[in-house]
Amino acid sequence: MNIAGIGIRNISRNKTRTTLTVLGGAVAVLAFILLRTVLWAWNVGVDYAAKDRLATRHKVSFIMPMPKNYIDSVRQVPGVKKASYANWFGAKDSRHPDDFFASLAVEPQSFLDVFPEMSVKPDEKAHWLEDRKGAIVGDVLAKKLGVKAGDRITLTGTIYPGEWEFNIDGIYEATQKSVDRSQLLFHWNYLNETLDEKRRDHIGWISTLVDRPDQSANVTAAIDKIFDEKDVQTTTMSERNMNNSFMATFSAILTALDFVSIIILFIMMLILGNTIAMGVRERTREYGVLRALGFTPKHVSIFVIGEALTIGVLSGLLGLALSYPVVQLGMGRWLEENMGSFFPYFRLNATTALVAVVLSTGLGALAAIIPARQASKLSIIDALRRVG
């Protein structure tokens, strides 16, 4: 038995109140973990972006196209290992028009060269390269659309209107967390040859692999310099910066989530503070007895803070335990399957888990500061006279 141990034992005194407080704290920790995981998962593409990959887009906006022949110039830049290009297609499955997934018109061989983390079986890849109307889809999207290699699917174009038929030649899998497993990739030529003169031979962006990551800055400058005097100028940036600029469009939402996660913890602190304050009020007489026995105000503070820390730790650990099935098995799986473009990898990460438990414990202690101070400042005689 020691002084802090007595504080910890005090939490068993009113089991119902302690249980409800720990549950309330655990729900707050669960909500905090969910929000932080959303923020983390949203940024996972940025965090896992390849260091040796660049993206080149129209200088004005991501949505404006560039001449297709730019790819030839980029491939000539010293330090460029491989380059490919793509157009955002915007396909919809007419059976599920509200479901979003990314669909890109790409040059198949070079695209897979530049994005080796998208893995396709050799026979399926060979089939796709030969099939002008062929497409490959991520394993998550294949499951969602209910298709397999060899199937045929008709999708509705939004940016390029009409009904578009594709042969599903293969299913790609991800070898890296950041890969969106809900994409559909098809031949850029299939798209281009159906377009009118005005829209033909344009591409959305260029993706480039460089020989050495430390040369990225030089290659970036060299690419943009080529097009400086052209009608359409470009902006080249690392894949990480490209992802960041895409994220910036959602910055208000992300900031709001960040703010809400902090508010949740603040609410948790108030719940804990209230419980601790009630406990202190009920035990005023006992604190008076302890002081009479020779315990100092500091000892009384340790009693109170020890109790709050214990509730904080229990709330943190229970919240973490609850979040595991919710994030890993429930919400995470659903988001990966249904919103894979935004959340290709939605899992509980160690940093978030650790921060949640540490904050829960720390806030428990913080919540106890005022009640602990009040308890330690009590007059012994007044405390001994207190009834109840």
């Binding site: 038995m1 020691n2 002084i3 007595i6 034992r9 005090n10 068993s12 005194r13 007489r285 006992e286 007895v289 302890l290 002081r291 009479a292 026995l293 020779g294 315990f295 100092t296 105000p297 012994i380 005689i381 001994l384």
Partner: protein, 244 residues
């Protein structure tokens, strides 16, 4: 002004229970305590002069509001006098800071309260062990001493019981064990039998007599109960803040 009714208890308790005549353990001179209710000053103790010899068992009586508990609190180091000098166990409480008073209480005073005031989350042994947490004794030594104290009060076999599993009399005996576990110089008891039935109260008073006669503990007991006061070797009366 000081008067006291000293009464030999030889007739009742035998020859060994005599009025103590040792050196004073408590020496109060001109002690006054004033409380303030707003701007109104309430003189609760008024020029108290008192000497309590080492080894005595004294009862302090008087009507409610007479200042008994205030006097007990001053002697126990729970409060300081507004004026006058309070020497207890050769320590001048009037000039001590909070930290020194806490140390004084933990080393010199054993407390017994009317309402027992045991911690419900601790067993009887752990409650008794509480004051020893402030010492440098090892856990094993603390446990041993707590068991010894419980043996003295006749509750060794109940040491693993929680307060809710004990009767009122047993709880008070645990509180007495807690009061003696650190071998205090003086034991102060504020209405120790106030919440007990007659039988339990007699047991507690017998125990206090035993602590006084066998263990030579100085005991100062505040009580309203004349029967309890009769068990003390000295009875003092306080009225309107003055010893009569």
């Amino acid at each position: 002004m000081e008067t006291s009714t000293e009464k030999s208890t030889e007739a009742k308790n035998g020859a060994q229970n005599k009025v103590a005549t040792g050196k004073p353990i408590v020496e109060l001179s001109g002690v006054t305590k004033v409380f303030y209710r707003g701007k109104e000053a309430l003189r609760v103790l008024d020029g108290i002069n008192l000497e309590i010899p080492e080894g005595s068992f004294e009862a302090l009586m008087g009507p409610s509001g007479s200042g008994k508990s205030t006097l007990l609190n001053l002697i126990a180091g729970l409060d300081r006098p507004s004026s006058g000098k309070a020497l207890v166990a050769n320590q001048d409480l009037s000039s001590m800071g909070d930290g020194d008073l806490a140390k004084f209480r933990s080393q010199t005073v054993g407390f017994i309260f009317q309402a027992y005031n045991l911690m419900p989350v601790l067993t009887a042994r752990e409650n008794v062990e509480l004051p020893l947490l402030l010492t440098s004794l090892s856990g094993a030594e603390r446990k041993k001493r707590a068991q010894t104290a419980l043996r003295v009060v006749g509750l060794e076999e109940r040491m693993d019981h929680y307060p809710r599993q004990l009767s009122g009399g047993q709880e008070q005996r645990v509180a007495i064990a807690r009061a003696i576990v650190n071998d205090p110089t003086i034991i102060v008891a504020d209405e120790p039998t106030g919440d007990l039935d007659r039988k339990s109260a007699d047991d507690i008073l017998l125990l206090l007599e035993k602590l006084n006669t066998e263990f030579k503990k100085t005991i100062l007991m505040v009580t309203h109960d004349p029967q309890a006061a009769e068990r003390a070797t000295v009875q003092r009366r306080l009225d309107k803040g003055v010893l009569i």
